[in-house]
């Protein structure tokens, strides 16, 4: 029943490809080298946080350009709890996830209450993230601008509880997190709240006329999105073992987070995953290629990146996934769902 819900609208071919891909990912660490594993871990991370951002923008239609705030708060929060109180990351999450959800909802509440919307709301999210970034530069207890370093404990083997261990451990943890986020989003879009979000995204006035309390529904989207992102921040802290305000809170990180879902397909559940699968290797591939060609000019990679963005938004503005999924026969095209339902009834 649950899997049937999860795969609603997916063709047999789509299901098969997904299962095969997942199987390959599960077995891959047996054969892959550490470089490949690190790239895939990064892809999973971006798929995960992209999914989180997509909850707010893709489902509820609220543009955030400051999601680095929740990565940073989540990471710093869990790291501080670990270093000062000896609490592991999973326990830390119990603290930082609600905190970030509340911070997000507070920003949302302030903004929405005062009628700040659209681009102005996006600027408010940037301002809050940047404000916090500069503030963290000056919190000496957390290392300030010099950075916070988590102790690397070697030789104790893999410790899932404390999230200390080999690249394979991080690979599997991040894979599971990304899958959970995928499933969560898939389920939530089919709930009452999920439909209210979609209605809000499509037309707020019409949504209100149908009895949807806009403020509450918006805040729930921001809260879930921020809370999910915080988990990504915790993983970041324990994976890289160092945190610099200029890196985790930077606007560049906020943008990195939202590129995946936009390129992949905003408002779709698999879009953020596809976006991460395209962008991360693209960035890495460009680096390798430029290295091979002996081009060492700084900025070349970003120029290629920028060109890609312009091309994608010009030619596939709804993202690559909606187009690809139909083209490759992975999902039932929208508008033909009645055919599917008839097929199921037989």
């Amino acid at each position: 029943m649950l899997t049937q819900d999860l795969f609603e609208g997916v063709t047999p071919r789509g299901k098969m490809l997904f299962t095969a891909g997942l199987g390959a990912l599960l077995l891959l660490p047996e054969v892959a080298d550490s470089y490949l594993i690190s790239i895939l871990t990064l892809i999973f991370w971006f798929a995960y946080v992209g999914q989180a951002w997509n909850v707010m923008m893709g489902f509820a239609g609220q543009l955030s350009l400051g999601h680095a705030l929740y990565v940073g708060l989540g990471g710093y929060g869990a790291a501080a709890l670990y270093m000062h109180l000896g609490l592991g990351p999973w326990v830390g999450m119990l603290v930082v996830v609600p905190v970030c959800a509340l911070v997000g909802m507070a920003i949302g509440w302030l903004g929405f209450r005062f009628g700040v919307r659209g681009v102005h709301f996006a600027l408010l999210t940037i301002a809050c993230a940047e404000f916090t970034r500069v503030a963290f530069d000056h919190i000496t207890a957390l290392g300030g601008s010099g950075g916070l370093f988590l102790p690397v404990v070697g030789g104790r083997g893999d410790d899932l509880l404390m999230l200390r261990g080999s690249p394979q451990l991080y690979y599997y943890v991040m894979l599971v997190l990304a899958l959970l986020a995928l499933a969560l989003c898939r389920i939530v879009t089919r709930t009452r709240l999920g439909y209210f979000w979609l209605a809000l995204r499509e037309n707020p006035d019409a949504a209100a006329a149908l009895g949807i309390p806009l403020l509450r529904v918006k805040l729930l989207a921001v809260g879930l999105s921020a809370g999910m992102t915080a988990v990504g921040g915790v993983f970041y802290a324990f994976y890289y073992n160092n945190l610099f305000p200029d890196q985790v809170f930077a606007m560049g990180r906020s943008i990195e987070i939202l590129l995946g879902p936009i390129v992949g397909g905003i408002g779709t559940v698999f879009g953020p995953v596809l976006g991460a699968m395209i962008l991360t290797p693209l960035g890495e591939g460009a680096s390798l290629l430029l290295e091979a060609l002996g081009i060492t000019l700084p900025g070349t990679k970003q120029v290629i990146y920028g060109l890609m963005l312009v091309l994608i938004i010009c030619f596939r503005p709804a993202g690559i996934w909606p187009w690809l999924a139909v083209k490759a026969g992975l999902v039932v095209p929208p508008g033909e769902t009645d055919l599917r339902e008839k097929g199921e009834a037989e």
Binding site: M57, L63, L65, V134, I255, P298, G299, V303, G306, V310
Partner: protein, 289 residues
């Protein structure tokens, strides 16, 4: 700290702020008319700065003079960009416009990075270390000239929108796009001119600022944000508001640099932005929509 030092800090903040205000005016004009948030604004500004640096290094042209060719160059670039690409995105959702301009911004700033590298450069004008002394206050010559230039351009911009046929047509477009189209105005053409003007203005602001600061490509994103802050603080669509917002940010940065800690000066700007967004979202001089 002595009073004259305060006065000096204050006045240099005002002078720099006027140039910031000019840059923000470019953003405000584009947003007010084309309803497009130019996320590549700081990048265009840095483009202007590098043009000034190159002209100064190659032929010793004063940035005050190179403002003219730079303005022409950026007008053409902005006009072409709006005509060729942005006009097609006018009715697209916010996030698509954002991605497009973000892509353009990345190409611009990293293109500069490829050509000039990440190191700081300056225009090295002969009067770089000269100063005016007014009633015990020391004013850097470069800063005074830059602020004067900004005021002149701002006045010209105001006159253009107030008195010229094209300027009035553009304002009509901003008030009522459909109405403007109905009476036979070429709306998309006017959009292109507006984006050209906005780009030229920020290019000039870049030239002027290159007198005062060391130029690096990495500054671009900061100036984009700075322009946003000023426009929001001053009030969208208000030209006076942009100048006022610029001065306010310039002064608060300068004062924060002396009073608190230079590295925290950005916090003051962002704090101001958050405050204005929440308390007076239409900006200080903006009208409630």
């Amino acid at each position: 700290m002595s009073l004259s030092l305060y006065a000096g800090t204050l006045s240099s903040g005002i002078l720099t702020g006027l140039v910031y205000g000019l840059a923000a005016m470019g953003l405000s004009v584009i947003f007010g008319v084309v309803r497009l948030v130019n996320f590549a604004h700081g990048e265009m500004m840095v483009l202007g700065m590098f043009a000034a640096v190159v002209l100064a290094a190659a032929w010793g042209i004063d940035p005050l003079l190179s403002a003219l060719p730079v303005a022409a160059l950026l007008f053409v670039a902005g006009y072409g960009l709006q005509r060729g690409l942005l006009n097609r995105f006018i009715d697209r959702p916010d996030h698509q416009q954002f991605i497009l301009l973000l892509g353009i911004a990345m190409i611009l700033v990293n293109g500069l990075m490829m050509v000039f590298g990440p190191d700081a450069r300056s225009t090295n004008v002969p009067y770089g270390f000269d100063a005016f002394f007014v009633g015990g206050i020391t004013l850097d010559k470069t800063r005074v000239y830059a602020a004067g230039g900004a005021l002149i351009v701002a006045a010209a911009l105001y006159a253009f929108f107030r008195f010229s046929r094209t300027g009035i047509a553009i304002r009509a477009c901003a008030d009522n796009q459909l109405g403007a189209a109905v009476v036979g105005l070429d709306v998309k053409g006017l959009y292109a001119i507006t984006f050209g003007i906005g780009s030229a203005v920020v290019g000039i602001a870049g030239c002027l600022l290159s007198l005062v600061i060391d130029v690096r490509p990495q500054l671009a994103a900061d100036y984009t944000l700075l322009s946003f802050i000023i426009v929001i603080v001053g009030g969208l669509g208000s030209m006076g508001g942009a100048l006022l917002g610029g001065v306010l940010i310039g002064v608060s940065e300068a004062l924060a640099g002396v009073l608190i800690d230079p590295s925290r000066k950005q916090m003051v700007s962002y704090g101001l932005l958050i405050l204005v967004l929440l308390v007076r979202p239409q900006g200080l001089l903006g009208k409630r929509g």
